[in-house]
Symmetry: C2
Subunit: 141 residues, 2 copies
DNA sequence: CTGGATCCGCGATGATACTG
DNA sequence: CAGTATCATCGCGGATCCAG
């Protein structure tokens, strides 16, 4: 079987899948795939990165206002995680009232590229997914 | 909704981000990004898709054995979700003992491409992330 | 062999109140 | 403005038992 990949920049995909799979499941050692999944498994992280990808620098309040539905606490936690992982920088201006700006690092922007690619996939294929769900419901009743 | 098609790589990223951002946060309507995030936010889904991407067709037991750490229940739930969303097919062979085979659909394989790309990003950049974490720890003590 | 059904603990998350 | 601290909840996911 041959896997057809949309991104021509990567060759030998089948082997890569195998490699990553081996890394994931054959040992109990550190697994980069699991790690990155853990990072983006939190939807707030994804929304935050995409948000910063749009606007370069943003303040805490701007992020809170822009990311629909996020609580103050989760925004704080999310930003701390992303900063810890080197995906964004946190700049504090020592003034009253406080001002803090967040900005993607180069690393963060490279991940942004992946997430945009993923969101494009979502936009292109969501109709198929929705139709599959309808068929599934019809089939099981 | 307009989406820029083609190799996403890193060109034109800013504009695409803006489009998707508008879709995501400016309205309360259906959001494909949130939807796809919900799908891959579950690490078992990702592992399952990658697993199937490696081996074409797999039986329940083979998946269970291959995906390290997954429980029977979560594998069942995960497979049901993926089938419902049209990402894989479930083929039952009416025999005793039962035999069920799972296989990615074309849609599933196209998502596999995205996930492989993401895992490649993870493999290439995990060292930077790990170093950032160490620095973060050192900085905060 | 391939699940379905049930119970349940725990971590993630939201809400709220408070602070420099 | 930009958080911190605390509490309550709620759903994910593991364990277990059962069935076709």
């Amino acid at each position: 079987m041959k896997v057809t990949i949309g991104n021509p920049a990567h060759k030998g995909t089948q082997e890569n899948v195998k490699d990553h799979f081996s890394d994931n499941h054959s040992t109990n050692h550190y697994c980069p795939v699991t790690d990155v999944i853990d990072r983006i498994s939190d939807k707030w992280s994804v929304h935050t990165i995409i948000m910063l990808g749009k606007s370069d620098k943003l303040r805490f309040g701007e992020l809170k206002k822009g990311i629909h539905g996020i609580s103050q606490r989760m925004l704080t936690v999310t930003l701390k995680h992303l900063e810890r992982d080197g995906l964004l920088t946190r700049t504090v201006y020592p003034q009253i009232p406080p001002k803090v700006e967040y900005q993607l690092t180069d690393l963060g922007r490279s991940l942004l590229g992946q997430l945009v690619s993923l969101s494009e996939w979502a936009a292109e294929n969501m109709n198929q997914v929705l139709r599959a769900r309808e068929d599934y419901i019809l089939k099981n009743e």
